[in-house]
């Protein structure tokens, strides 16, 4: 396995008026390709800030972040957009699908920004939707889909550009436990079958249990980093 992420002495400080609020105070972390990492911690522990920096949505105050060996902290906003488009797939707690836009078109959205021909976009979107088990729902609008189905569309959208890093921010936060288990089974399967590197933020231990490595944040510091104990082995669908 080769190294995907290398973070060294990462600091992030928010300035609120005259007060400086440190959110991250020196994070060091390596993540290999193919890992499935659960990031845990209470609210305000800095885990969301860390995710935003990993996802090239936010800039660190100091320290270094190498993605596939490339220092990304110093890149321009357009280069960030390019990285988000090509190397990173996001899944959010609130699904964040475009309303009144079909599942298929939602999945096509990332490809609108990398110049793929519409036939190729169409083909890949359909392929990815069937990967998440939604080949029957391609023309449904988000409000015609259940929460679990909406999250599957979001997962398909995150995967469609074949990213090297899949970031999920509390992906089951809005779902009931049965649906949560289904989604987590899907994520685990993607990790196992497609070899996609997954970083997942959660504060629930039973969700974190799907991962093969768990790291804990507290007050902007990494306090523990260990393989998951009694890892959930979901039935392979």
């Amino acid at each position: 396995m080769s190294e995907l992420i290398r973070v060294r002495d990462l600091h992030k400080t928010y300035v609120m008026g005259d007060v400086e609020v440190p959110a991250l105070r020196g994070i060091n972390l390596n993540i290999e390709r193919g890992e499935f990492v659960a990031v845990m911690g209470a609210s305000g522990s800095g885990k969301s800030t860390f995710m935003n920096i990993l996802g090239c949505l936010d800039r660190s105050t100091s320290g270094s972040y190498l993605l596939e060996g490339q220092e990304v902290g110093s890149l321009s906003p357009d280069e960030w957009a390019h990285i988000r488009n090509h190397k990173i797939g996001f899944v959010f707690q609130g699904f964040n699908l475009l309303s009144r836009t079909s599942a298929l078109e939602n999945v096509e959205l990332p490809m609108m920004y990398n110049g793929l021909q519409s036939q190729e976009r169409h083909r890949r979107a359909l392929e990815t939707l069937s990967l998440v088990g939604l080949e029957e729902r391609t023309h449904h609008m988000p409000n015609q889909l259940s929460g679990g189905q909406q999250q599957r569309v979001a997962i398909a959208r995150a995967l469609v550009n074949r990213p090297s890093l899949f970031l999920a921010d509390e992906p089951t936060g809005n779902l009931d436990s049965t649906t949560s288990a289904e989604i987590m089974a899907l994520v685990q399967r993607l990790n196992a079958e497609q070899g996609i590197t997954i970083v997942l933020v959660t504060h629930e231990f039973d969700i974190a249990a799907y991962a093969n490595r768990q790291i804990h944040f507290k007050d902007g510091r990494l306090i523990s980093d260990h393989p998951a104990e009694d890892r959930v082995k979901s039935r392979q669908q």
Partner: protein, 404 residues
Amino acid sequence: MWLMTLRIALRALRRNKLRSFLTMLGIIIGVGAVIAMVAIGEGAKATIRSQIASLGTNVLIVLPGTLTQGGVRTGSGGANTLMDGDAKAMMQELPSVAFASPALRRQDQVVAGNLNWSTLAQGVAPEFQHVRDWQVMEGRFIHEGDIESAAKVAVLGQTVVDKLFGNDDPIDSVIRIRNIPFRVVGTLAPKGQSSQGTDQDDTVMIPYTTMQKRLMRITHVQSIVVSAVSADRVQEAQEQITALLRQRHRIGPDRDDDFTIRNLSDIAQAATSSAQVMAVLLGIVASISLVVGGIGIMNIMLVSVTERTREIGIRMAVGARSRDIMLQFLVEAVVMAATGGILGILLGIGSSEILNQWAQWPILIRPDIVMVAFLFSGAVGVFFGFYPAQKAAHLDPIEALRYE
């Protein structure tokens, strides 16, 4: 890329059909007003121009000066200083003068058979036809021979033909003016109303010599109408006529002219320039409403950017660059403005056609103005869409994704 952005924009606008339409309404009314106002203004200008052209091109009118007798001044045209020789001399001696004809006029009762009609009798020379650029419809105009012999012949205007002969052929019939019989030798093509609203076809033309001897018993002429060889030599003709008449009338250098020259092209210019001012004013008022329409677009685009903050965040998270977001909102604004522009053009053309049909207002729709109005509405979209689009493009993706 462009096609896709256009599709995204069209879909966004379709989602809020009523709102998009109401936003466009400002531009529709603005562009419609520009098109209609300019059509009316240009129509008025064209009408004035054609009325002036019907008076004859490059025309000058020479009138005798005033006469003071015992402290009483007669007013313009009161003196008996102009002679028919003056007209002939102008044509022979002045290179800038194309044609010159004496013109005597009086209102007279004209009788034909058992019908009679009060009309303007004009005593003219053959050159009059060329000065006024007036076509003969049937028969002939007055000859040089008619002038020499003071022949009792007449050429009838179209209105007089209608009133005295109806559908009968008037050629070679006899009409009577003050009991003197005249043989009708020709009829004139209709010329319509003058710019003052008088019917130019309500006239009878006879040789000016006949008018002088038989009807008025005078030896001078009331006026001379002159045409310059071209429009840009009217001024030169006016100067040369002044010099010639001063010399012929033996007016010393310290005395005033005993004639006045009226320049029809000056009158024409005044009339068209007032129509021009009118057209410009109407255009400005209409342009203001177009700008107001643009502000409406800006307002709605700002609302739309706020409403769709989360959408912008999602697009950024999946890899849209600032300029992609910028382009998307800019294209939306331009599509809205340009669609409004096209509808406005249709509205403008439609409403000016209605005014033309119902109120008989003359209109002239100029394709270049239509084109300019369309491009201007597009430019309004770019201008007023720029700020909202920039606002959208500069949103922080994290904030935008969190926006409720």
